[in-house]
């Protein structure tokens, strides 16, 4: 042994890493919430941005109001509202869950992929993220300009076909750098699900702290996990942006 005694910070780190199965399952749940919310939010955002940009006054106003409300209120308030709404309306909640089980290095890992709480979490995160994604998409839809849509209509395409075949393929390419903001924010937003008791990475962190009292070491580990995840997402989107670039532009 080089060290007579293992230095304290490293000892703490090793003790926290002893709970790697908790960190790992929390990470998977965070990833799961993130993936669902990002994808559902994307389609919601796409729909909202098209309605807001190209819809008639009535639908455009509704889409704008939705976006303003979702962006103007705290995510945690939205989550708690959706979570407590059935209780205050006396709607019975049945206990059900969809789990995944597997064994890894002799540790038994159980993931609750879908139950009442997880579903509420995914719903709230998607509804919120959709509003933000809508605005990123709206910006890129408008940056394509109206000229090409006019040209599409002048060769006989309907407005909808023009949006689908001409505007969207360009808008979706252009949106990537701005949209990567949302892709990088959302994993960190998912931590609010701790407040309704979903076992995500952050909740597992609290659990480890309650067992070990090693607050600093635990949250440093969790921060590093987030950092790695988001670095990979950013790099991936950079590559995607480069690959889908329109030559000459």
């Amino acid at each position: 042994m080089i060290f007579q005694n293992i230095p304290e910070p490293i000892d703490e780190l090793i003790r926290v890493l002893g709970y790697w199965d908790y960190i790992f399952s929390g990470f998977l749940i965070t990833l799961w919430l993130y993936g669902c919310a990002l994808i559902l939010g994307f389609f919601l955002g796409l729909f909202l941005s098209i309605v807001r940009t190209y819809g008639n006054r009535f639908f455009s106003t509704i889409a704008t109001a939705y976006i303003d409300i979702m962006r103007g209120t705290p995510l945690i308030a939205q989550l708690l509202l959706i979570y407590f709404l059935p209780y205050s309306l006396n709607i019975p909640i049945s206990a059900w869950s969809f789990k995944a089980n597997f064994v890894m290095f002799d540790k038994n890992i159980t993931l609750i992929l879908l139950d009442h709480k997880t579903m509420i979490s995914i719903l709230a995160l998607s509804l919120n993220s959709g509003a933000y994604q809508a605005e990123y998409l709206r910006g890129s839809l408008m940056s394509v300009g109206s000229g090409q849509l006019l040209a599409a209509q002048s060769v006989g395409m309907s407005r909808l076909a023009g949006i689908r075949h001409i505007v969207l393929p360009q808008a979706l390419r252009r949106v990537i750098p701005a949209w990567s903001n949302e892709a990088a924010y959302l994993p960190k937003y998912t931590v609010v699900v701790y407040f309704i008791g979903v076992s995500d990475l952050f909740s597992e962190g609290y659990y480890i702290v309650s067992r070990t009292f090693l607050t600093l070491a635990t949250f440093i580990v969790i921060a590093i996990v987030f950092l790695i995840l988001i670095s990979i997402i950013s790099k991936g989107l950079d590559i995607l942006h480069e690959k889908t670039r329109i030559p000459g532009l």
Partner: protein, 263 residues
Amino acid sequence: MNKLVLKVDNVWKSYKDLQVLKGISFEVLEGEVKVLFGPSGSGKSTLLRCINMLVPPDKGNVFLRGQNLNEHGVNINAMRARIGMVFQHFNLFAHLKAVDNVSIGLRRVKGLSKEDAREKAFNALKSVKMMKWADHYPAQLSGGQQQRVGIARALAMEPDVILFDEPTSALDPELIGEVLQVMLDIAKAGTTMIVVTHEMGFARAVSSEMIFLGDGIIEERGSPDHFFTNPKSERVKHFLRQLDILYGSHEKLLQPLDEEDFK
């Protein structure tokens, strides 16, 4: 006797308080080239957009081969496929190669197979001398080349009439020639065209009738000969003189302008 292709009947259009078109009527026969010209703001572009209903007129009708475009139940998308349009700023589809810019309408609107559409697109590109550039994206082409692709895109649909909205006014001077040459070629091949332009040389060479638009009405119309020898209205004379100063006799540029020129 050539057949009637397009009839514009008493078209009115206003944007809020601004009355842009005040009752425009004219007819276009098969193979004719109509040149629309007039000062900026006189409603030329609006008139073209009213013709293919990109901007529906407030009053009046447009007939394409006898079919009223305003009539209830008319599939306006299908009718637009029969009216080509070439834009001042080209408006090419930026994410598509030149050949795909031309073929996408054939595929999505006319329902042609990928191969058939491609072959037709190549033919259209050939007629605007852009074969060599078929696999380039719009951003890799010069303005003149982009505009020729724009013309090919309209041509490929084999429309009854093609509308040109100031096709050369966004181009650098040395690129105007190639576009005008292509337009001359297709005009001589018998394409029915309505052209908004200030290229008087082009108008003189191929137009069957010139229409001078001023403040939303047809101020004067007639053959190119009529306009270049003895136009009647003072406004037309004044306008042609200004074009002449700009494009023609350079010595006039060096002289101080009359007060009239600033009106």
